[in-house]
Each structure stands twice: as structure tokens, then as C-alpha cells.
């Protein structure tokens, strides 16, 4: 466990030694802030007056906060491949992987360490994002349960993106190829959701397989343990595949 932490913290720190993590955090935060303001403005000027006096009207948490987290999930679909591409592909390209594989640590520790390092960045990103809806609590009553479900759902979604990206990064020595294939896979899973919902050929199986369907129920404030299990299986599956892939490299080429 100690070794996993050592690797994770070094990976996390190294992301901030290049402008990559800084610029990604800044740009994502800027775009999401814009979306947040737009939503908030629309709510205050248009929706709130129209909803006044109605019973069971959707509130701020339903309209602004959920939309913000949905957007965050969509944007990270494009951003996560850039974060995951370097994990193993860059080490391959620079031929630095022998440092880790010759050290007295196991492949699982290497993979978990790298994954944990990325999770720390995701955690940072989600908490920066959460500052925006949390600031609303100064002026209004938020549905904290709903917010917590959205935060947890976004974290799981991003963690599943990261696990898929980690695996694809272990397959290649070109970071760009890792990024493109990760983006393709994540986009495909989203398309799967769209095609599962399309009229005429809707399919429950497709919706179940896509990670977006599970994310949406979190955004509605629904904490279903089957969604949690889906994400955990998804993450575990890709982590095991990564470990197997790197182990195989030692055995056979």
C-alpha cells in the first residue's frame, strides 16, 4: 500500500510539473462556470417567475445543478483521454518503464498507483466544480442529497473513463493513439446510449452497457446500487486487463 501511495503521489505531482494539468483544470473550470452562469441566469429570469406559486415545481437543484454535472460528464469525455494517454504510453515512448518494472514492486502496485494518482486529480476537479453549486447555498436552500448523488455519480463516471484510458494507454507506445482510442471508446459508449434510446430500435441492453445511462440516474438523485456495481465492475475489469497486459509483456512478446 505504501508503494501504491508513493507512485500515486509522484504521478499526481508530475502532472502539475507540466502545464497540462493546470491548463486542463483552468479551461474545464472556465467552461463549466460559463455554463453554470447561463443556467443560473435563465433560472432566475425566466423559470423562477413562471414556476412561482406552482406546487412541486422543479427547483434550482433539479434544473441548474443537474445540468452542470451532466455537462461536466460530457466535457470530460473529451478531456479524460488527454489525461490518461500519458500514463503508460509516455513511459513506453521515453523508455522509462524499466524503472518501475525493475524496482521491487509488483505490476498491480504500479497499475494501482498510477490509477490512484489520476483519481486524485479527478477528485480535485470534481471538488473545484462543486464549489459553484455549493456557493448557491449562501442564498438558497439546496437539495444536499441530490447534490451528493450528482457528485458521487460524476466521480464514478470519471473514474470509469480513467480506467478505460489507463488500459488503452498500456496497449500502445504512442500517447496520441492512446488518446484517440480512448476517446473513440468513450464516445462509442455514449453512442450506445443514444442508439439504445432511439425510436424503433431501442434496446435496454445497449442502455445498460453504456455508462451514461447509469450516470443519468445519479443526476436525478437516484442512488441505485446496481449503478454503483456497474461502475465498480467496469473499473475493476479495465484495471485487471491492464495488469494482465503488462504482465504478459514480461512473459511473451
Amino acid at each position: 500500500m505504501n508503494m501504491i501511495w508513493t507512485i500515486a503521489l509522484t504521478e499526481f505531482r508530475r502532472m502539475f510539473y507540466s502545464p497540462l494539468a493546470w491548463s486542463i483544470l483552468a479551461i474545464v473550470q472556465f467552461i463549466l462556470a460559463w455554463i453554470f452562469l447561463l443556467g443560473l441566469n435563465e433560472y432566475v429570469t425566466q423559470i423562477q417567475p413562471a414556476m412561482a406559486g406552482r406546487e412541486n415545481a422543479p427547483g434550482l437543484s433539479d434544473l441548474v445543478v443537474s445540468a452542470l454535472y451532466l455537462w461536466a460528464g460530457v466535457i470530460m469525455l473529451a478531456v479524460m483521454p488527454i489525461l490518461t494517454m500519458r500514463l503508460f504510453a509516455e513511459e513506453r515512448m521515453n523508455q522509462t518503464l524499466p524503472l518501475l518494472t525493475s524496482a521491487p514492486i509488483s505490476i498491480s502496485q504500479i497499475v494501482l498507483g498510477k490509477y490512484l494518482g489520476l483519481l486524485l486529480l479527478i477528485l480535485l476537479m470534481v471538488s473545484m466544480l462543486t464549489l459553484m453549486p455549493a456557493s448557491l447555498s449562501l442564498g438558497t436552500d439546496l437539495d444536499w442529497g441530490k447534490l451528493a448523488a450528482a457528485i458521487f455519480g460524476l466521480f464514478l463516471l470519471l473514474a470509469s473513463f480513467a480506467a478505460a484510458g489507463l488500459f488503452l494507454s498500456a496497449l500502445t507506445r504512442q500517447p496520441i493513439i492512446a488518446a484517440v482510442s480512448t476517446f473513440g471508446l468513450l464516445l462509442f459508449l455514449m453512442v450506445l446510449y443514444i442508439s439504445g434510446n432511439s425510436q424503433g430500435s431501442s434496446s435496454q441492453l445497449f442502455i445498460y452497457l453504456s455508462h451514461f445511462g447509469h450516470f443519468l440516474s445519479f443526476l436525478e438523485g437516484l442512488f441505485d446500487s446496481s449503478d454503483l456495481v456497474y461502475y465498480l465492475l467496469f473499473i475493476l475489469g479495465f484495471l485487471l486487463l491492464t495488469i494482465r497486459k503488462l504482465d504478459n509483456e514480461r512473459l511473451q512478446r
Binding site: M3, T6, I7, T10, R14, Y17, S18, N94, Q95, T96, L97, P98, L99, L100, T101, S102, A103, P104, I105, S106, R250, L251, R253
Partner: protein
């Protein structure tokens, strides 16, 4: 005798699909010995070194490091190995100190022991002047030295260096050779190279590989011309090439 044997590899073979890179290789290393691994390109030197450091599993054979089986207990055995691959595995975005600190942590060094180990490795590889500089900004020779520092940091019993002097200027080559000789006093060193004079300068014993097999394995005392032996052994199967080399030597 057995107690001073730090590395014993027996019957190592490695196949890449059908192609045989290393065949039935025995390699032994005593304490305080510098072994030169020689051979033409593609002879299996790098494959052998990758197997000895646990980066590549041999198809057959066994490897004992300091009495610990590398294949059975890789993590315990790897504690006793320091490895410098052909390309020094350095992170360009870290400073020398940060990098060495990370390597020390990876080898399980903690607290005061870690600081002392880093200090010692830095001193031995003459890295004090550049300790706070980014590795990306260092010259090739310094990167190579950082790589060597990483390999000797945890005071391993066996140090394995894959072509440590490639691409260095003559002055740096001399310094690295001096360092390797120093290392040979406390550690055991395996060194692979193409450069024959280098072997004669630093090695106690030489093992020549050709097409994955050992063709020569002896100490260098009494050897008049390593070059002659090398060409005889390596090119005997190819007379045309041997003639060409003989002409060159004259």
C-alpha cells in the same frame, strides 16, 4: 565459494515466437567481480540483461540473485539488483534530487537511510552540481550518470549496466569507467558493451555471446588480444567477414 556467488543463472533460453534470442546460457557472477558481456548486435546481450533484471521472463532456466530465486520471489530478489537499461529511465520533468528521491522510495528506503543513500549516490556519480536541475536540461552524459546513480542507490549486490558509455565524450567515458571500477570493489557488476578496449579496461572476466550462445567465458589475465579472440569466435562462421576484419586490423 557458493556463499560469494551473487548471481547464478543456469540454462537460460528465450524464444520470441520461433526466433531464439538466447539459448541455454549459463551466467555466474562472484562478489566483487566485473563481468563484461560482449557480442555483436543481436547476439542477445540486452535480452539476457532484461531476463536477469526480471523485465523479461526466460522461456526456460533459473536465476538466483544473492541466493533468492528471481522467478519465485521477484520482489525480494529485485531488492538486490540495480539496473541501467540502454536508455536511462529518467523522468525529464523531475529534478535530479526529486528523481533520486522517488527511486529511493520505490526501493523501500525510508527516513534517514534514504537521505544518506541519495547523498552517497549523488557523490559517487558527481551529481552535486546539478542536483537541483531538471533532468530534461542535462547533457547526455549527466543523464547517463543519473541513470547509474539510480542503479546503485539502494546499494544492490548486483549492478547491471547495459552499454553505459554509449554516446558519451571521451572524458565522460573515462569518468564512467572509473566509476564502474569503483563499483566493482563493493558490488558485482555486469556490463554489456560493443567497445572492446572498454572491456579490457574495466572487466575482470569476459563472456562473449554470439547468436544467443556463450562462445567464450574466461578471465582476462593472460589474454593477449581480446580483439583477436572476439573476431575468431564471432566471425568464424562467416569467413568473408573474418577476412575483412583481419584486413582492417592489419
Amino acid at each position: 565459494m557458493e556463499s560469494t556467488m551473487l548471481l547464478a543463472a543456469e540454462g537460460l533460453s528465450r524464444y520470441y515466437n520461433e526466433h531464439c534470442a538466447v539459448e541455454n546460457l549459463d551466467l555466474h557472477l562472484k562478489k566483487g567481480e566485473v563481468l563484461g558481456l560482449l557480442g555483436p548486435n543481436g547476439a542477445g546481450k540486452s535480452t539476457t540483461m532484461q531476463m536477469l533484471t526480471g523485465n523479461l521472463a526466460p522461456t526456460t532456466g533459473s536465476i538466483q540473485i544473492n541466493g533468492i530465486d528471481l522467478l519465485e520471489e521477484p520482489r525480494r530478489a529485485k531488492q538486490h539488483i540495480g539496473y541501467l537499461p540502454e536508455q536511462p529511465p529518467v523522468y525529464r520533468d523531475l529534478t535530479v534530487n526529486e528523481y533520486l528521491d522517488y527511486c529511493a522510495k520505490l526501493h523501500g528506503l525510508r527516513g534517514a537511510g534514504r537521505i544518506q543513500a541519495i547523498h552517497l549516490a549523488r557523490e559517487r556519480c558527481s551529481l552535486q552540481e546539478v542536483q537541483n536541475r531538471l533532468i530534461a536540461n542535462l547533457s547526455k552524459g549527466y543523464k547517463q550518470r543519473v541513470g547509474i546513480a539510480q542503479a546503485i542507490l539502494h546499494n544492490p549486490a548486483v549492478v547491471i549496466l547495459d552499454e553505459p558509455t554509449v554516446g558519451l565524450d571521451p572524458l565522460q567515458i573515462r569518468e564512467i569507467r572509473k566509476l564502474i571500477r569503483e563499483l566493482g570493489q563493493e558490488h558485482s557488476v555486469i556490463l554489456s558493451t560493443h567497445i572492446l578496449p572498454e572491456v579490457q579496461a574495466v572487466c575482470d572476466r569476459v563472456q562473449i555471446l554470439n547468436r544467443g550462445r556463450t562462445v567464450f567465458n574466461d578471465s582476462l589475465t593472460g589474454v593477449e588480444s581480446l580483439e583477436k579472440i572476439f573476431f575468431e569466435l564471432v566471425y568464424q562462421e562467416d569467413p568473408a567477414l573474418a577476412d575483412l576484419e583481419a584486413e582492417k586490423m592489419e
